[in-house]
């Protein structure tokens, strides 16, 4: 007899936004109507993110391993008729792999997936979001059982220390070492916190784990609780992540029912309970002391460290805070051993890292790679390079705390220390790719604008310094830049780094400083010649149509939202600079690269 089929419909936020719920429902409904033999009814599972969000909604069929992209609900009857009942592959719905120059049947064979190694995301996309059984089937809750039955708390800490796992939230502090501090710290009760207040603009790694594999986070937290002697945990989740909150809530309930959470876990003396706290929309709450203040019901303002939370954290008690991805690694390390973990990645940054690959890149989505891979491999092999025939300019890592890395440094290995040495940082894992249509001065201003809105305002350098740097950057973008501005920005940036209270402020100037270091001429061009070479800063930009290149295809005239472009078919087009709002849509739509920046 034929083995039972499973249809995995990606129900991550990206695919849901593209209508995957309708597809999931259509499969459920239409399969029911078929009145198949009970044994043959395929399982339809709504899973977490499959990775390549841009091609969503994604549907993966097992056991044949067929992956369909850009699926619509109207495709469902055909998929059922051909691929489910007849094992036929629908060519039209397959992914065209630009690097292989061919359609590829299974996502396992996509170039996008080949250099990846999914550890933290090992279950995401493979299991039903809401099924604890699916999790258990894939070694779920095996690690906590192992720990409770065979390991003393100190042995757990030793194993974690030996693994050299570093915090995936940005700082890169050694997880095991941190745990050992909390284990030794005096004070009781102790607490365990999951930092799921992912707020970097351009990052959604944690969301995918919370949505697609919530139990692994709970299991990681329970293991830590056992190791340091805590009985209570909190998950501080961004409230905007509605699906993540919902799935995590269900996971907590299910785990309690099965005895993986609550009193006397697996019949032992150990008890551990976890609850969700919804974040209030404050980026600064990603900083651990601010997050703690927020859980306590206060404004999310950081406090001076030391003391560190491992000594005095939530309600003044020893507290361990790790981020989602870190927690997701914990059960794996316990199951497979620290030595195995260290065999992956680099000596000082073992394991893998999840990145959100976004921006001006062909394959937008979520990827997980071994540490030490180069940025070039990430962007060009996995990411498929820059779309639209444009040129790579920079990649931004580390979000508002990080920096932009130029072409010349693309062979840098991705690990905590290399990126920091370049004035950027690993951060939580956002990789925003920028092409030659990106203005690096404007990007610097963008990050300052973001931080201006997110600084808590407690300490003066961050509150006042960001405001003034933003004003100067605004001046530069709008044609009021003055000689000496670049040096002043660097001077202020250094002072803010030196004196701010928390990590938000200490790293706030990084995007400005690194952009100046790597793209100084672009700043100078803005200040001295009042010109934005990328054609982004509207006051310093004028577009024109290159008479040689223009084919008179009329596309730009059609797309222009303000009707500023005129011209007959097959004739040279002209831009009315009075009307032009410099939105750049014409540049992005022109297939002949005929629209230029003066």
């Amino acid at each position: 007899m034929e083995s039972k089929k499973t249809i995995l419909v990606c129900c991550g936020t990206g695919c849901l936004a593209n209508g995957s719920q309708k597809i999931y429902d259509a499969f459920k409904e239409q399969l029911k109507a078929l009145e198949l033999d009970v044994e043959l009814i395929p399982d339809v599972k709504g899973t977490g993110c499959h990775g390549l969000c841009q091609k969503g909604p994604l549907v993966h069929i097992l056991p044949q391993q067929i992956t369909y992209v850009h699926v619509k609900d109207s495709d469902v009857p055909e998929i059922i008729a051909k691929s489910i009942t007849n094992n036929e592959v629908i060519d039209r719905l397959l992914y065209f792999d630009a690097q292989q120059k061919a359609k590829v049947q299974s996502k396992e064979d996509w170039t996008f997936d080949k250099k990846q190694m999914r550890l933290a995301l090992r279950n995401v996309g493979h299991i039903d979001n809401e099924s604890i059984d699916d999790y258990i089937e894939r070694d779920g809750y095996k690690a906590i059982a192992k720990v409770l039955k065979n390991m003393k708390p100190q042995e757990v800490i030793d194993e974690m220390k030996h693994s050299k796992l570093r915090g995936r939230g940005g700082g890169g502090f050694l997880t095991g070492l941190k745990w050992s501090f909390a284990a030794k710290a005096e004070g009781s009760p102790k607490y365990v916190i999951c930092n799921a207040d992912e707020g970097d603009p351009g990052a959604f790694m944690d969301r995918s784990v919370l949505e697609g594999d919530p139990h692994t986070v709970l299991e990681g937290m329970a293991i830590c609780a056992y190791a340091i002697g805590a009985n209570r945990g909190f998950l501080y989740v961004r409230d905007e992540y509605g699906l993540a909150v919902k799935n995590m809530k269900k996971a907590i309930e299910a785990a309690k029912k099965r005895g993986f959470l609550g009193e006397n876990i697996l019949g032992t003396e150990f008890s551990f309970d976890a609850e969700i706290v919804r974040g209030g929309g404050a980026f600064v709450c990603g900083e651990e002391t601010a997050l703690i203040a927020s859980i306590e019901g206060k404004t999310g303002e950081p406090v001076q460290k030391p003391p560190f939370p491992a000594d005095k954290g939530l309600w003044g008690k020893p507290t361990i805070i790790n981020n989602v991805e870190t927690w997701s690694n914990v059960p794996l390390i316990i199951n497979k051993g620290a030595d195995w973990f260290r065999s992956i990645g680099t000596e000082n940054s073992p394991g893998t890292k999840v990145f959100a690959l976004v921006g001006k890149i062909a394959n937008t989505g979520l990827v997980e790679v071994p540490m030490g891979i180069t940025l070039r491999e990430l962007i060009f092999d996995i990411g498929g390079g820059i779309p639209g025939g444009r040129k790579f300019k920079a990649v931004q890592t580390g979000g508002p705390s990080g920096g932009c890395i130029p072409e010349s440094k693309l062979d840098l290995p991705v690990d905590f220390d290399s990126l920091t040495a370049e004035g950027s940082m690993m951060g939580s894992g956002g990789l925003v790719v920028m092409d030659d249509r990106t203005c690096m001065v404007e990007v610097a201003r963008f990050y300052m604008q973001f931080l201006y809105g997110e600084s808590c305002g407690k300490c003066a350098p961050c509150r006042e310094g960001i405001k003034r740097m933003l004003e100067i950057l605004g001046d530069i973008c709008e044609g009021r830049g003055q000689e000496g501005d670049i040096d002043l920005l660097l001077e202020m940036g250094e002072a803010i780094q030196e004196s701010s209270l928390c990590a938000l402020g200490k790293t706030a100037a990084n995007p400005v400083i690194s952009n100046i270091e790597n793209f100084r001429e672009e700043f100078e061009e803005h200040i001295k010649n009042k010109r934005c070479p990328a054609g982004v800063c509207k006051d310093l930009t004028e577009f024109y149509v290159d008479a040689e290149a223009c084919k008179g295809c009329t596309l730009c005239a059609k797309r222009c939202p303000v009707g500023a472009i005129s011209g007959e078919k097959k004739q040279l087009h002209v831009i009315d600079s009075e009307k032009c709002t410099k939105c750049g849509i014409c540049i992005d739509s022109c297939k002949f690269n005929a629209i230029k920046v003066k």
């Binding site: 001076q304 600084s455 305002g457 300490c459 003066a460 509150r463 003034r468 030196e498 004196s499």
Partner: protein, 256 residues
């Protein structure tokens, strides 16, 4: 315990901060948000010093960093000065007319960064407040909690809920007295004190006739202490009598 501050050995006590140790040893470090009675706010950041310990050199806020045996502290070097110069310029851009910030800039010979835009300021508070947080902490310590910081980031300010006169305010003036930049307006006229848009009747000292506290303040303290102490004497006259304890316990240290 001994540490080195600016190249000289200094005897310090376990548990104290670098700032406390330095000041006791006659070494000057500037602060705005620090008060002996209300330590640990760490918001003004002008007390940064360089610390060398266990082979690591770092800059820390001296008002909160505890002393450790053998550490070396530098209170003045190129980096510290550069940072302080920028900071004091940021302060003066915020409160351009404030004399306390002007005085600090003069004292530390801070060059003017003319490029910075400066605040215009619409109210007295905005004109002088550097958001150090001392007033809020004083109000918290009093237990009244009439004011707090409101909003966040660049919009942050100190105020009462909805900018309305607060039911909790007892007009004690602790907030105004701890303010390092005289940003909180408190007026006293004909036996009436006005602060935070609320007026309070002042009580005269039974002995010397001086107005010394608001009626609400006295009622509040009485209720807090919970006995019938004689509340009719001002600070000076109190010393003669025996009604001093409550005030010292709660407030004397706040009266700078």
């Amino acid at each position: 315990m001994e540490i080195i501050i600016d190249g000289k050995k200094a005897a310090v006590q376990e548990g104290e901060t670098i700032l406390q140790a330095a000041r006791r040893n006659g070494i000057d470090i500037p602060t705005l948000c620090y008060s002996d009675a209300l330590p640990g706010i760490t918001s003004c950041r002008i007390c940064m010093v360089e610390v060398k310990e266990n082979g690591v050199t770092k800059r820390v806020a001296s008002c909160a960093y505890p002393v450790h045996e053998g550490m070396e502290v530098t209170t003045d070097n190129e980096t510290i000065r550069r940072t302080r110069n920028v900071l004091l310029n940021l302060y003066s851009a915020r409160v351009p007319h404030n004399k306390d910030i002007k005085a600090l800039k003069e004292k530390y010979d801070v060059p003017e960064i003319k490029r910075l835009q400066v605040n215009k300021g619409e109210t007295h508070l905005a004109e002088n407040c550097v958001l150090c947080g001392l007033c809020v902490k004083a109000c918290e310590e009093m237990g009244t909690n009439a004011i707090s910081t409101v909003f966040r980031g660049a919009e942050k300010k100190v105020g009462t809920p909805f900018d309305e006169p607060s039911d909790s305010c007892i007009g004690c003036g602790a907030c105004a007295s701890v303010c390092p930049t005289e940003a909180i307006q408190m007026t006293q006229e004909n036996g009436v004190r006005t602060i935070w848009d609320k007026t309070f009747e002042l009580i005269q000292c039974k002995e010397c006739g001086k107005y010394f506290a608001t009626a609400q303040e006295i009622a509040y303290v009485k209720q807090k202490i919970g006995n019938d102490m004689d509340m009719a004497l001002c600070e000076k006259c109190k010393q003669k009598g025996n009604a001093a304890k409550f005030k010292e316990a709660l407030k004397a240290e706040l009266d700078i």
